[in-house]
């Protein structure tokens, strides 16, 4: 895999994740918005060698951790490195198990697997925040406040929405396939549904 292509697309997806959520946000349904990073993680997991895919998911997750500040009631905000990093690694690992069973060069596949990946990410991140809330001095500042169940449901909504969105975004990613240098990839006509 060409890491230069990965770096460029990573920063692009992170920038879109941080900026365009307002445009695609469903304000009447808890303010959920689709993820741009998860389809990229799924895309890389489907085509890259195993360890490369896992390292990529770890990096993408760390960048998501860096983009999600925690604001305490008093004092400067801080960042927790790990919830999204581990979540994306778990999601990537799941994609690696499923990729032999799916048609990889299909945007519908990317959409479906994006939703699955984000379910996995939600499970891991909420679990980590629940564990932290057991010993944190003020657990109300964590995203699972006021209710971990509510936060899980919200993240499942984000996963479903992202899965639908990833059908289109995945089609765009598939058109960039020749630039990635993935091994054993035949560059047939891509972008089929």
């Amino acid at each position: 895999m060409r890491w230069a292509t990965f770096v460029v697309l990573t920063f692009l997806c992170i920038a879109l994740e941080l900026s365009l959520r307002g445009v695609l946000e469903l304000r009447s349904i808890g303010g959920i918005s689709p993820s741009f990073v998860a389809p990229l993680a799924v895309f890389v997991s489907m085509f890259a060698p195993r360890m490369t895919a896992l390292w990529s998911c770890l990096l993408l997750g760390l960048l998501m951790d860096i983009s999600t500040p925690i604001a305490p009631h008093a004092g400067a905000s801080f960042y927790i490195f790990g919830p999204y990093a581990l979540g994306y690694v778990f999601g990537g690992f799941m994609i690696l198990q499923l990729r032999p069973m799916v048609f990889r060069q299909r945007s519908l596949t990317i959409g479906f697997l994006t939703a699955l990946c984000l379910f996995a990410v939600a499970l891991v991140t909420v679990a980590i925040f629940i564990i932290r809330s057991w010993y944190a001095p003020d657990p109300s500042i964590y995203p699972i406040s006021p209710s971990a169940t509510g936060e899980m449901l919200r993240r499942f909504g984000i996963a479903l929405y992202s899965g639908i969105f990833a059908i289109l975004f995945g089609w765009l990613l598939l058109t960039t396939l020749p630039f990635w240098g993935f091994p054993t990839t035949t560059h047939r006509r891509v972008g089929r549904w």
Partner: protein, 306 residues
């Protein structure tokens, strides 16, 4: 060599274990993460800023005045008359405050600190929180522009939207008012368009986590749907006082407290819908009783209301 390292399973396992340890590290040991995040965000900031500007153009926040089309002469005349009315009221209040201050100083024989003048600074939002609609956002103004932790952010001049939590050289973090980290706030609930601050409907609001604020009040309070919540908390900077938080959206009785009602305040704007805010920065202290310096300072360096 690089690809060999990438494939090394033991290196990956070590990275996972370190990440797991970091994810469970207590909050008080995570202050250093701010610096690393700031450095790593630098390359994404121009692109995310551009994305926010485009997003705000594609899906702008709802207009705060639906009675008039914004481009009409009638709307401009309406704004001018409102401005003149409030300037007159402001001047009258200034004279009253000066008189009261002098009286109080004579009684207590202690000089009273004059209110610090303000500087308005426009700031663009360069990054939203990706998963939390009410999460902290990044601004493109930092300590170099005079921003300090605790400064407040407003929209359209009167709507309080958040407070600066931490500052770096070229950027700062704004915590929206609707974020649960804001905590309790004192506000006065007044009829709309009168801003009658003598009304003693002083209530304690807290963010509800869903973009609204809630407060429990006695059922005898004279509050109706549509009333405005005016910020009145002395623990915040003076610049925040008399800013509008939002309007009363509902008043419901509390089942296990029959003599109390729960009011829900809905803010007019959410930070997640905006691309730009105005920061109110308190300038250096002036001598007590100096009337000429009391009040809003001039706009400066790329700032000003959107």
């Amino acid at each position: 060599m690089y690809s060999t390292f990438a494939r090394t399973q033991s290196a990956f396992t070590a990275a996972i274990l370190i990440t797991l340890a970091l994810s469970l590290t207590p909050d008080r040991y995570l202050g250093w993460t701010n610096d690393i995040a700031e450095i790593i965000r630098v390359p994404t900031r121009p692109f995310s800023h551009l994305g926010i500007v485009m997003g705000n153009w594609l899906r702008p926040p709802t207009s705060f005045d639906s009675d008039f089309p914004e481009e009409s002469k009638e709307y401009v005349d309406h704004l001018k008359s409102e401005r003149d009315k409030f300037m007159q009221l402001y001047a009258a209040e200034q004279m009253e405050v000066a008189s009261l201050r002098q009286t109080l100083e004579q009684i207590q024989r202690v000089p009273i600190e004059a209110r610090r003048p303000l500087r308005l600074l426009g700031a663009s939002i360069t990054a939203h929180s990706p998963t939390d609609r009410f999460g902290p956002v990044q601004l493109n103004r930092g300590s170099r522009a005079g921003v300090t932790p605790g400064d407040i952010a407003v929209y359209n001049g009167v709507y309080l939207v958040g407070r600066i939590s931490d500052v770096s050289t070229f950027g700062s973090t704004l915590v929206p008012l609707t974020n649960v980290a804001t905590g309790l706030m004192l506000v006065k609930i007044t009829p709309p368009d009168t801003r009658d601050i003598s009304v003693l409907n002083l209530v304690q609001l807290q963010p509800n986590g869903d973009g609204t604020f809630i407060a429990d009040v006695e059922s005898g309070f004279d509050i109706e749907v549509g009333y405005e919540a005016i910020f009145s908390d002395r623990t915040w900077p003076d610049a925040a006082r008399s800013m509008v938080i939002g309007t009363v959206a509902s008043i419901d009785p509390i089942d296990d407290q029959p003599l109390r009602n729960r009011i829900v305040i809905k803010p007019r704007f959410h930070v997640s819908e905006l691309s730009r805010v105005t920061l109110k920065l308190e300038q250096e202290e002036q001598e007590a009783g100096s009337l000429a310096e009391v009040g809003v300072g001039s706009e400066s360096g790329g700032g000003g209301d959107p």
